[in-house]
Amino acid sequence: MTTTPLLEIRDLHTGFHTDEGLVRSVRGVSLTVARGETLALVGESGCGKSVTAHSVLKLIPMPPGQITSGQILWQGRDLVPLSIREMNRIRAREIAIVFQEPMTALNPVYSVGEQIAEVVRQHMGLGRRAAVDRAVEMLDMVGIPDARRRVGDYPHQFSGGMRQRVMIAMALACEPKLLIADEPTTALDVTIQAQILDMLQDMKERLGTAILLITHDMGVVAETAERAVVMYAGRVVEEGTVDRLFSAPAHPYTRGLIRSIPRLDGGQGRHKRLDTIAGSIPSQYANPPGCRFAPRCPLAQADCLAAQPPMTSPSADHHFACFHSVPEAIAP
């Protein structure tokens, strides 16, 4: 195995120019995805996780969006300066993406088979017949029953969960090395969620595709990912293996996220209310010098407001950005 990671994001800054000024959605994110691994990118709405992922494929609307600095290294090659034409060769063939909303992500006027075949023909240069065969094979692989017959059906004849399977089949049809799954199960109900996550796991093992899973659901992280990156207000606050993050979270934000997962046994007592993180995320226009989480942090002290805490690493597979916290298990 080579030492270059599949994807390495170095100090990425992405912003949007608006009438009120520059919205800095991503403020120096660094992360790596190794071949064949599942990395979860976690955070609440507006923390910049989707913008980070869309920056990788350069799907953010430019203008007003702009990658202001940083590098996105795909197998060592920087994607940031590439033209759209060059990106189109990377999209689908090397990196594919699945969106949150399966109900509207398929074109209503083509059958699902035509849509998958279209992508395959464009990127793999297969003939019409071979492309349709490939579509059937992919539909079968993602668990669409009776794929040979269903390949001619239109999107409106599929349910939400089935459409998401079709989307995943389309994304994986050209055997990309990385699949970015942008909240792939958020729009689905819980039982279907579990099925889709199972299926993703299954596909990953069969095809060896790495997955960058974007989610706000710590439960999904625990179930599917090997490593996780926790983002808050455009920055990475903690990164580590899922085992370590759940057994000994270090950053107060990660701890808050884990504490706010509903538990069947009721946690510390039957009638206790669910823990929440007080306050709300900071304005994306503001640029205070200190830690972005400080206003909501139970451990915040004067130095937190003065400077951004650097990444500290208690072990090789665990990094976090906080002056005062230490990794420890959360009391049950």
Binding site: L57, L59, I84, R85, M87, N88, R89, I90, R91, A92, R93, A96, I97, F99, E101, T104, A105, L106, N107, P108, V109, Y110, S111, E118, V119, Q122, H123, G143, P145, D146, R149, G152, D153, Y154, H156, Q157, M162, M167, M170, A171, A194, Q195, I196, D198, M199, D202
Partner: protein
């Protein structure tokens, strides 16, 4: 959960196969009727003059304004010319003008609308300004001006008949693209933001591919309906021009021309106006039904 549960918990939806576009079109009964009627009309004007070979300009004063009879199945006009022969011959011109002008209007309109809808910013503003300008222009004076300016030049270039034909198609089609452009632009503005376009972009579809493969097919429904309406408008517009003496020469009996010639004799020879009117009516009606059927055929969600 044990094993690949996602494969076992799903049930096979036992619904019938989705019908193809052709099957959907066939289910639209009026569209099929329209196709047959229009097909008959086209066959008649193409083949009819070969079978009913009465000269269109044979003047017979003994049979002036004759009612339909065995010798003249549709009667005659005020010069005793056979109406059936004139209708069959003139229909070629009328239908050709109608379709060609519709094509011009739809192509220009789609092009302008698509470019405007895809390019937000100054180009969009300019194109819509242009569209509004054309909409605001009084059509008839403009038509007269254009024809006076260019008719002789074109006649000299490609011959009198082709010249007039090209000119009429250009002006009739060229002044009817605006509603299509606005429709297409509005469709593009909404469809370009739909997720499947974003998904196509994410899977490496170039801008042209997004437009041609994903946006345009979803925008076609209203365009087809607008197109069928403009066929009718073009046939009528041609007759207006002929009436003003600016279209085809008076000895070319287009449907509109015959209709206008007949209007002064409505009380004594109603058949003269009735038959060209019926021909225009049938053409327009069947085209509209075909348009309806096409729109449904192109929309897979439509199940009757």
């Amino acid at each position: 959960m044990a094993g690949p549960s996602h494969q076992t918990t799903l049930t096979v939806a036992d619904e019938p196969r989705a019908p193809t576009s052709w099957q959907r079109f066939r289910k639209h009964r009026m569209a099929v009727v329209g196709t047959v009627v229009l097909g008959l009309l086209v066959a008649l004007v193409l083949l009819g003059p070969l079978i009913w070979n009465v000269p269109i300009d044979k003047i017979d004063f003994r049979a002036r304004l004759a009612m339909p009879s065995a010798a003249h199945p549709l009667g005659t006009d005020d010069l005793g010319q056979d109406l059936l022969a004139r209708l069959l011959y003139g229909g070629r011109v009328s239908l050709a003008v109608g379709f060609a002008a519709m094509l011009v209007a739809v192509v220009i309109g789609t092009l302008v609308g698509a470019v405007a809808g895809m390019s937000r910013g100054p180009l969009d503003a300019f194109l819509m300004w242009l569209t509004d300008l054309f909409l605001a222009l009084p059509t008839l004076p403009l038509l007269l001006l254009i024809i006076y300016l260019f008719r002789d030049a074109l006649k000299g270039l490609v011959g009198p008949e082709v010249g007039v034909f090209v000119l009429i198609i250009a002006v009739v089609g060229g002044l009817r693209w605006m509603p299509v452009a606005r429709l297409v632009r509005a469709q593009f503005l909404t469809i370009r933001e739909r997720e499947f376009v974003e998904a196509a972009r994410a899977l490496g579809a170039s801008r042209l591919r997004q437009v041609v493969l994903h946006i345009l097919p979803n925008a076609l429904g209203p365009v087809i309906v607008a197109g069928t309406i403009s066929v009718a408008e073009a046939i009528i517009a041609e007759s207006t021009l002929s009436f003003l003496g600016l279209g085809f020469p008076p000895d070319t009996p287009t449907w509109g021309r015959i209709l206008f010639d007949a209007k002064d004799f409505l009380s004594i020879a109603p058949h003269w106006a009735l038959f060209p009117g019926l021909a225009i009516f049938l053409t327009v009606l069947s085209i509209n039904f075909i348009g309806d059927g096409l729109r449904d055929a192109l929309d897979p969600r439509k199940v009757r």
